[in-house]
C-alpha cells in the first residue's frame, strides 16, 4: 500500500509543479536558515569539556574594593600577581594553574625564514593534566620545572610542522624572542572552543595557541601580558608595580574533584580574603567567587549577542515557512476533495486517506530537506561573510548536522501536514460525489 501511496503522491506533486516547488522551497529555506544559525550557535555555545567542566573552577578575590564595583559587587574577572601566586603556592586544590596570554617572535633555525610572531600562554605544569591536553610527542613539563623557572616549552603541532617538518622535536631548541628554550612536548591539535581558560581576555574563539612555557620563567623575563591588564586607581607603576600593584591580568583555575574538595576550597578562599582584611591589605569584607567552567562561560557572556539573535530569527523564519507550508498543503489537498470523495466511497478508510496524504507530505519534506541541506552547505561555507572569522571557522556541516537537517525538514513537514490531512480525511464522500 505504501508504494502505491508514494506513487500517487508523486503523481499529485507533478500535477501542480508550481505549488510543489513553492512548498519545497519554503521548507528548504526555512530549514536552512535555522540550521545555519544553529550550526554557529552550537559551535560556540557548547561545553568544551563536558566530562570535567563540573570539576574545574575559577577563584576570584576582590582586590579593588566595593567602591570600584557596580551594585552586584562583582570582583574583577582576573587576579593580580600577588593573589595569583599566593593562591598557587597554597596548593589548596588538587591541581591549580595560573595563566596569562603572551606573544613571542619565533626565530626559525633557517636564517632565510623571516621571524614571525606566535601567540601562547605562560602557565604551570598542571595545565596539561588538568585540561587533558593530548600530546603527539613528549609531555608537559614537571612541577620541578616550575620551581626552577626552567626554559622548557610545549609547542603546538602546527608550529612543530612549520619549524621541524612534523618530526619529533622533543629535546631540541627553539628560539623565541632571542632566547633558547628546550622543547619538552609537542601537542596534538588541541583547540577547545570556547577557549574557556582565557575568555577573560576575549580570546574565547581565537585560533589555537602555539606555545606554552612556565609562568615562573615568563615572569623572570618580565613578559608582558598579550591580553588585558585592568588597573584600579594609581597602581601599577613600572614592572614592579605591575606585580605588586592592583592590576588584574592573571587567570587562575583549580581542579576540585568532589563536593568536599569544593567545600574545602571555598572556605580556604574565604579564609584567604579574610586574612587580607586582617592584615590591612584589603580593608573590606571578604568578597570572593568560585564558579565552575559552565557558570564561568555564562558569567563572561561568551556566546555573542549576534549569535543568539540570529538563532532566534532563524527559528522564527522556520516557523513562517511551516505556516506557509500548512497553507499550501491545505490548498493542495482540498483541491482534491472530489478524488478523496471517490476513494472514500469506494471503501477507503479514513486511516488510508491519512496515510496517503502523509506519505505525500513526507515526499515534499524529503525534497525540502535535500534543498535545505544544499542551502545549509552553501550557508555554512558563506558564514564567514556574516560572523567573525574566528567564529565562522568553527561552524561546519558534519554528519550530525546533515542528519538533523533532514530530520527537521521531514518532521516539520509532517507536523505541518497534520491539519491539512485531517481536513482531507474529513471529506464527506456523499457531498463530493453530488457536487462532482
Amino acid at each position: 500500500m505504501f508504494g502505491y501511496y508514494a506513487q500517487l503522491g508523486l503523481r499529485s506533486l507533478r500535477r501542480n509543479p508550481v505549488l510543489t516547488a513553492l512548498m519545497v522551497m519554503a521548507i528548504g529555506f526555512g530549514v536552512a536558515a535555522s540550521m545555519i544559525t544553529y550550526a554557529v550557535f552550537r559551535a560556540i555555545s557548547g561545553d568544551p569539556m563536558p566530562w570535567k567542566s563540573a570539576q574545574l573552577f575559577v577563584p576570584q578575590v576582590d582586590n579593588w574594593g566595593p567602591q570600584s564595583h557596580g551594585p552586584d559587587n562583582e570582583p574583577p574577572d582576573m587576579l593580580g600577581y600577588v593573589d595569583a601566586t599566593a593562591l598557587m603556592n597554597a596548593h589548596a586544590a588538587q591541581r591549580q594553574v595560573a595563566t596569562y596570554p603572551i606573544s613571542f617572535p619565533v626565530q626559525p633555525a633557517d636564517a632565510a625564514v623571516t621571524p614571525f610572531s606566535v601567540d601562547g600562554y605562560a602557565t604551570y605544569a598542571d595545565f596539561f593534566g588538568m585540561f587533558e591536553v593530548p600530546f603527539r610527542y613528549g609531555s608537559g613539563w614537571s612541577a620541578a620545572d616550575d620551581q626552577r623557572h626552567a626554559d622548557s616549552v610545549v609547542i603546538s603541532s602546527r608550529l612543530n610542522d612549520e619549524l621541524f617538518g612534523g618530526a619529533n622535536s622533543v629535546g631540541r631548541e627553539i628560539r623565541l624572542d632571542d632566547r633558547s628554550y628546550r622543547i619538552v612536548g609537542v601537542m596534538q591539535h588541541w583547540d577547545p572552543h570556547p577557549r574557556f581558560y582565557d575568555v577573560a581576555n576575549d580570546n574565547a574563539f581565537a585560533a589555537a595557541a602555539d606555545f606554552y612555557l612556565p609562568f615562573t620563567r615568563a615572569i623572570d623575563l618580565k613578559t608582558e601580558t598579550n591580553g588585558h591588564s585592568n588597573c584600579n586607581g594609581h597602581a601599577g607603576i613600572g614592572w614592579d608595580g605591575m606585580l605588586r600593584g592592583q592590576c588584574t591580568w592573571i587567570s587562575l583555575w583549580v581542579e576540585l574533584p568532589d563536593a568536599a574538595a569544593l567545600q574545602n576550597y571555598r572556605s580556604f578562599l574565604q579564609g584567604y580574603a579574610a586574612e587580607q582584611q586582617r592584615s590591612g591589605r584589603f580593608p573590606w569584607a571578604p568578597n570572593i567567587r568560585l564558579r565552575n567552567l559552565t557558570q564561568w562561560l555564562d558569567h563572561e557572556q561568551v556566546v555573542p549577542q549576534e549569535s543568539k539573535v540570529a538563532l532566534l530569527l532563524g527559528l522564527g523564519f522556520l516557523a513562517v515557512c511551516l505556516i506557509n507550508t500548512v497553507g499550501l498543503l491545505l490548498a493542495k489537498f482540498m483541491r482534491r476533495a472530489s478524488e478523496i470523495g471517490v476513494r472514500r466511497a469506494l471503501g477507503a478508510a479514513r486511516r488510508e486517506i491519512y496515510l496517503q496524504f502523509l506519505v505525500e507530505a513526507g515526499a515534499v519534506g524529503c525534497a525540502g530537506g535535500v534543498l535545505g541541506l544544499l542551502l545549509t552547505g552553501i550557508g555554512v561555507l558563506g558564514v564567514g561573510l556574516v560572523f567573525e572569522p574566528d567564529i565562522a571557522r568553527l561552524a561546519r556541516l558534519d554528519l550530525s548536522l546533515v542528519g538533523l537537517t533532514l530530520l527537521v525538514a521531514i518532521g516539520a513537514t509532517l507536523v505541518a501536514a497534520f491539519y491539512p490531512t485531517w481536513r482531507a480525511a474529513r471529506v464527506q464522500p456523499a457531498w463530493q460525489l453530488k457536487a462532482g
Binding site: L19, L22, M25, A26, F29, G30, A33, Q67, P105, Q107, T114, P115, F116, S117, D177, D178, R179, L221, K222, E224, H234, G236, I237, G238, W239, M242, P304, Q305, E306, K308, V309, A310, L312, L313, G314, G316, F317, A319, V320, C321, I323, N324, V326, G327, L328, L330, A331, K332, M334, R335, S338, L385, V386, F387, E388, P389, Y419, R423, A435, G436
Partner: protein, 410 residues
C-alpha cells in the same frame, strides 16, 4: 472603490483555516522584518561613525622588536625608522604610536579633576603622539596648538602617565568642561596634572565594542614616545600612493634593521582594512538580517499567491454566477484585493504586537535598544503592499473568469 465588506467577511468564514494561516504568517513576518530592519539600521549607524582622520591616505605598520632591547635602544631604533619612513617616496608624514582609531587594542584611562578623585569623570582612549601626529592623521585642530618638538618625552610601558601637555578631542573637552573652554584647563590621569593645550575636532577611540560606546569619541594625545617592543607606525601617504607605499614599506624597514617582526599578512594595513576588521561583526549582522528579511518577504508573498490561487480556483463557479448577474471585472478584482486587505490588516495588527514583544524580549535579554515607531510603520506598509502585490495576479485571473462558467459544473 466602494466594496461591501460584510459579504467578504461571511465568505471568509467559509475558509477560516486559510485566512488564519495567512494572518499568522503575515504577523510573524512583520515581527521578524521590523526587528531585522531595526537591527540593520542600528548597525549601520554604529559603522557610519567617522574616525575624524583621513582614512583614505593612512597606512598602519605593526612592528615588534625581537629580544626585548632596552628602552634607550628601542628609542634610537624608532627614531631611525621614523626618519626612513618620512623620507620614503610617496610618504607625506609619519609618527609612532601605541594604537590607532578602531585598532581594537590600546589604552584607556580614567580622567579626573583632582588627584584624589575616587571615581573617574570619564574614560578616554590615550594615543601616544608627537608633533607629526596631527598632520599624519589629518585631524583638524579647532582650538589651541599642536605639540612642539621639544615637548615630546619618553616613557616605558608601566611608567605613570603624567604629560605636562595634552591634546583632547572636542567630545572629551565637552565632557570634562561642558560650560567653558577646555583650553588651559588641567586634568589628572595619575597624581600630576596635564594641561590641555589643544582641542581637535574629532578623534575616535580604538575600541569598537559595546563596553566603549559611551566614551568612543573621547580621546586624547600625549606628547610621549612609548619605548615598548610592540608598537605601530602611522604613515600618511601622498594622494594615489597608498598601494605603492604599502608594497615597499616593510622592505625599507627590514633593510634598516632585520631584528624585528612585521607580519606578512597583517603587518602593513591600509586603514580601510582596519575599519573592515573592526566592524566585521556589525556588517555581518546587517547582511544576515537583510537576507533573512528579503527571503522571508518572498516566502510570505509566495504563500499568499498559492492560497489565493486555490481560492480563486475553488470559486470559479461563484465568480461566474456573480459575473452573469452583472458584476464587472473590476468588482471581482476589488473583491479579492479587499479580501486580502482585510486578512493583511488582521495580520499586521497581530504582527505589531508580536514585533513589540520580540523587541522587548531582546531589550531585556540581549541589551538591545527599543524598537522605534518608524520601523513598525515601514514594516506594516511593506506587508500591506506585499499582500496586495501578491494577490494581484490571482485576482486578475479571477476577474477574467467568464460568466459562462456559471453554467458549467466544476
Amino acid at each position: 472603490m466602494n466594496m461591501p465588506i460584510r459579504p467578504i467577511l461571511s465568505a471568509l468564514g467559509h475558509h477560516k483555516a486559510g485566512a488564519v494561516l495567512i494572518v499568522l504568517q503575515i504577523a510573524l513576518t512583520l515581527a521578524i522584518v521590523c526587528n531585522a530592519l531595526f537591527i540593520i539600521s542600528q548597525r549601520i549607524e554604529h559603522v557610519a561613525r567617522p574616525t575624524g582622520i583621513d582614512e583614505a591616505e593612512i597606512l598602519v605598520v605593526a612592528n615588534e622588536w625581537i629580544g626585548k632591547p632596552p628602552a634607550e635602544r628601542i628609542d634610537a631604533l624608532m627614531t631611525t625608522d621614523l626618519a626612513i619612513l618620512r623620507q620614503l617616496p610617496g610618504v607625506a608624514d609619519a609618527y609612532a604610536s601605541n594604537a590607532t582609531p578602531l585598532g581594537g587594542n590600546g589604552r584607556a584611562m580614567g580622567l579626573n579633576y583632582t588627584p584624589d578623585q575616587v571615581n573617574a569623570t570619564t574614560r578616554a582612549t590615550v594615543y601616544f603622539a608627537d608633533e607629526h601626529a596631527l598632520a599624519t592623521l589629518g585631524v583638524k585642530l579647532v582650538a589651541g596648538r599642536n605639540f612642539r618638538a621639544d615637548e615630546i618625552g619618553r616613557v616605558t610601558a608601566h611608567d605613570a602617565l603624567a604629560p605636562p601637555a595634552i591634546i583632547v578631542s572636542r567630545e572629551l573637552a565637552a565632557k570634562m568642561f561642558p560650560n567653558a573652554s577646555a583650553l588651559g584647563k588641567q586634568v589628572y590621569m595619575y597624581t600630576t596634572p596635564s594641561t590641555i593645550v589643544g582641542v581637535v575636532e574629532k578623534l575616535q577611540g580604538s575600541f569598537v565594542g559595546g563596553f566603549a560606546d559611551e566614551w568612543s569619541e573621547r580621546s586624547l594625545l600625549v606628547p610621549h614616545r612609548l619605548d615598548a617592543p610592540n608598537g605601530y607606525y602611522v604613515v600618511r601617504v601622498r594622494p594615489g600612493q597608498l598601494d605603492a607605499v604599502a608594497a615597499m614599506v616593510a622592505k625599507a624597514l627590514y633593510a634598516a634593521n632585520g631584528k624585528r617582526v612585521i607580519e606578512r599578512v597583517s603587518g602593513v594595513q591600509r586603514f580601510s582594512e582596519i575599519r573592515s576588521t573592526a566592524y566585521a561583526r556589525d556588517i555581518g549582522m546587517a547582511i544576515l538580517m537583510g537576507v533573512i528579511s528579503v527571503v522571508l518577504l518572498a516566502i510570505t508573498a509566495a504563500g499568499i499567491v498559492g492560497l489565493t490561487s486555490f481560492w480563486v480556483g475553488q470559486r470559479r463557479r461563484q465568480i461566474g454566477v456573480r459575473r452573469a448577474l452583472g458584476a464587472t471585472r473590476n468588482d471581482i478584482l476589488g473583491y479579492f484585493l479587499t479580501e486580502n486587505l482585510l486578512i493583511s490588516l488582521g495580520g499586521v495588527v497581530l504582527g505589531v504586537l508580536l514585533a513589540i514583544s520580540l523587541n522587548l524580549w531582546m531589550v531585556t535579554h540581549e541589551e538591545m535598544a527599543r524598537l522605534s515607531l518608524a520601523y513598525l510603520s515601514i514594516g506594516v506598509l511593506t506587508l500591506l503592499l506585499l499582500g496586495q502585490g501578491a494577490v494581484l495576479a490571482p485576482a486578475l485571473r479571477a476577474s477574467r473568469v467568464s460568466p459562462v462558467e456559471a453554467t458549467r459544473s466544476v
